[in-house]
Symmetry: C2
Subunit: 481 residues, 2 copies
């Protein structure tokens, strides 16, 4: 633990130096193309070590704020091109449908497993962005000391130490959950699955955002549900007027949504809209299954509240996990299923008996002692920079008529291709060139969004991505109808 | 690894000494009540250390073969009483039903979590019987060295190294699976769940053994399935004539069974019956979902084959896990779903995305290097001894008219109480006295078996259990109708 503290303090030091340079740029003291102070000079000026300045400059480089020119020094980076406009929202659609997107998803994940393919497709984070070594060390120490606890079943509702940590953190998001409100799960996927099973019956109609995360669509398909797609705005999320209209027309049994940094839109539903959504559904006793897996990845100062924060009746079933912030392979997620808690717990039992014990213990320990907030701050900065880099490259290389989203958090970019461009064709052509992207039709039960793609910015920027996005830009022209 | 080898050799040495004494008893050279050679004398005689003999005697003591008398030495144990007859099989029942056993299961597992309660109820193994320290050490080393692999998703079909180990072992059971046949899962529970979802639709009728493992009944209930119970013989398992008759009367969409060391019966279906079952179902294209979680825990010399060994058409969906042999809390299981493999893989994705990576790596490593076979040999001996001890205590303390099963493997005992005794009342009264048992009605969708209980022998024998079973015997009289 001693070592941890030192690491955190060092972190703060280089961050302070980086913030200093950033401020000079924001104030206009340093302008695009200006050379910034040499490492040696700044170290003397700020009374810090050379290593600290190097780390600060690397950080600023990673974030796309400065660039190193060989043999010359560091310079303030110029924005390559102004960003094109945001994508347009989907139009309302009046009929329900059954999702069927298996073959595309299989290709997408097949590509995700192939290390030779440039990973702009699947929504995975590079392990280098995660506290991989630290959480593995934590798991290692726990495995050594857990004794029988490590090998024994940790029956639902799941590890108390972990549920306590989640409850403690929920105060910051305005939820004030108690440990008893929470059931731990195998990632957010199992949480969503259990909540859906608890709240609905096969054949029921569920409203989702449009575009919708394909994982939700697959889940709904696997449970034989019908889906009604509600248009979502790339900046503010689900169109509540359209939802109200759909509720008049269809017997909607549940709504599934990602209000905070939607996948694929990156949209953030404003608090007032969240409150209205919860009230609208509450009046009709319709549960909201809320996926908040990106909630901690805000680019702005404040951690947005989930819709659950406005839930007075226990109808909001909040689901999340540590797969986008700590360790996807640990498979540790959770649900706060409100009035459906008992049913979710029973279904969890029938479905997988328990969540693996050691990974839960490691995550609980990390939340308690690992500097999770410090890690999140760094991760958010890196992701914001990566999203910016990818956005700029798309702006520079894609044909006129392209539109791109302005995500306020997360690491996903939604791109509307110039009119007539086939996302599916682009997906196939890009894959043939060793580049993976997620084609728009994946995000619709009706295979809409044929002219959209999702780009994942889950990997540190490098020339590889610059080259790949340049290639995608060229391929766009070939895929125009 | 060096240390491992030494441990294995030491193990073999004390085992040899124990086997020597056991042989003397079997041959009749030493008879019940005889004093066996002193530790010192035997050490000299066999040219081994005192510690080795002590270990051998402890082993024989644990297995109920000898007993230590304070200040006097070790004696060949007398069987306390001849065992009562075996329980009777259930009668056939002609109608289907929907299981509903939640409240009893909740009580059972509630008791399972309370360390002050004598654990004869839930089918859990004492962590001291498992290679807890070794597998945790393995997990610890892997966590330290896994790097990004440890935190990254291990997407379906799951960890190749683990699937290879399972495939390698399957040759011994006459299955010769390939790694490609296997999908790893969150314990056998998820495997069964996925197979059931792949092979059936909600509302379908599924045939199960009677009595049936309550976990299967809960699973079926959670998926809104109908259940037809097929009588099972305590020694040979499912009555195939009754199954044939039921197939004539109902549209059975799948059969779920535990042919090897059934839970709760301990029955072992003979190979010919397995072959006939597979053929019967194959002719009608009905999938068999086979739970082989106890298959490695045979008391006899040979590892019984699963029904899957007789499967020529890919209709047998074999499910198992390492929860009864290595580490339940690791939640590592698998399915070999035959022709349903692709569907199971897709459902796995939708349901929980992936199985936790590190636990899979640790299990694969243990199977490769940990002396799994050596561990299994020791575990089987211990479980056989524990089952024998519990059987003898029931024979000694329960009222006349009691019948008990003769499990050929596993660690569960099925007890038929004297006519008119209420298992449910006994369950409640025993719980009030701090003893947990599993009441018979748990094992039926129709709440049959009101005069049966299941006793778990998953813990090393001690006075605590002797006292508890004596108490149960007394309570039986109070619960007579």
């Amino acid at each position: 633990m001693q070592q941890e503290t030192v690491a955190v303090e060092q972190g703060l030091l280089y961050e302070r130096v980086a913030a200093h340079i950033e401020e000079l740029i924001e104030r206009g003291t340093l302008r695009p193309g200006d050379r910034i102070p040499s490492v040696r000079r700044l170290a003397r000026q700020q009374s810090v070590s050379i290593a600290t300045v190097l780390q600060a400059y690397l950080e600023l480089e990673n974030r796309g704020i400065i660039e190193a020119r060989p043999q010359s020094g560091h310079y303030v980076r110029a924005r390559r091109a102004p960003l094109p406009p945001e994508p347009r929202a989907a139009r309302a659609c009046t009929t329900t449908s059954r999702p069927s997107i298996e073959s595309m998803v299989a290709k997408l994940y097949g590509a995700g497993r192939d290390p030779s393919i440039v990973p702009l497709g699947a929504g995975f984070l590079d392990p280098d962005l995660l506290p991989t070594e630290r959480i593995n060390r934590s798991a290692s120490l726990i495995a050594r000391s857990a004794g029988g606890a490590g090998v024994s079943y940790d029956l639902p509702p799941g590890l108390l130490a972990l549920r306590r940590q989640i409850a403690r953190r929920s105060i910051e998001w305005g939820c004030a959950l108690s440990a008893d409100d929470i059931v731990t799960t195998v990632g957010a996927a199992e949480a969503l699955h259990l909540c859906l099973r608890a709240a609905t019956r096969p054949g029921d109609t569920v409203a989702v955002e449009s575009p919708a995360y394909y994982g939700l669509l697959r889940l709904l398909a696997s449970l034989n549900m019908r889906v009604i797609e509600i248009p979502s705005h790339p900046r503010t999320g689900m169109d509540l007027a359209a939802l109200a209209e759909a509720m008049g027309r269809h017997r909607i049994r549940a709504v599934m949504a990602i209000p905070n940094f939607n996948n694929p839109l990156g949209s953030l539903m404003p608090d007032e809209a969240k409150e209205e959504l919860v009230e609208m559904l509450g009046r009709r006793e319709i549960p909201l299954i809320e996926d908040d897996i990106y909630g901690d990845l805000h680019f702005g100062d404040e951690r947005p509240r989930p819709a659950k924060a406005f839930d007075k009746r226990g109808l909001v079933m909040l689901c999340s996990s540590f797969s986008k912030t700590l360790a996807p392979g640990y498979r540790v997620g959770w649900a706060a299923p409100g009035i459906f808690r008992e049913e979710v717990e029973q279904l969890k039992f029938a479905q997988s008996v328990a969540t693996a014990t050691l990974p839960q213990m490691a995550v609980a320990d990390f939340l308690d002692n690992g500097g999770y907030d410090h890690h999140l701050r760094a991760l958010r900065r890196k992701l914001a920079a990566q999203v910016e880099r990818v956005s700029e490259a798309v702006a520079a290389y894609f044909p006129p008529g392209t539109r791109i989203s302005r995500p306020a958090g997360g690491f996903l970019l939604w791109v509307e291709l110039p009119p007539g461009t086939s996302a599916h064709l682009l997906f196939e052509r890009a894959l043939a060139r060793g580049i993976s992207i997620a084609p728009g039709p994946l995000f619709s039960a009706k295979q809409r969004f044929s002219g959209y793609i999702r780009l994942s910015c889950g990997h540190p920027w490098s020339e590889l991505f610059d080259h790949a996005i340049r290639t995608l830009g060229k391929l766009c022209a070939e895929c125009a109808g």
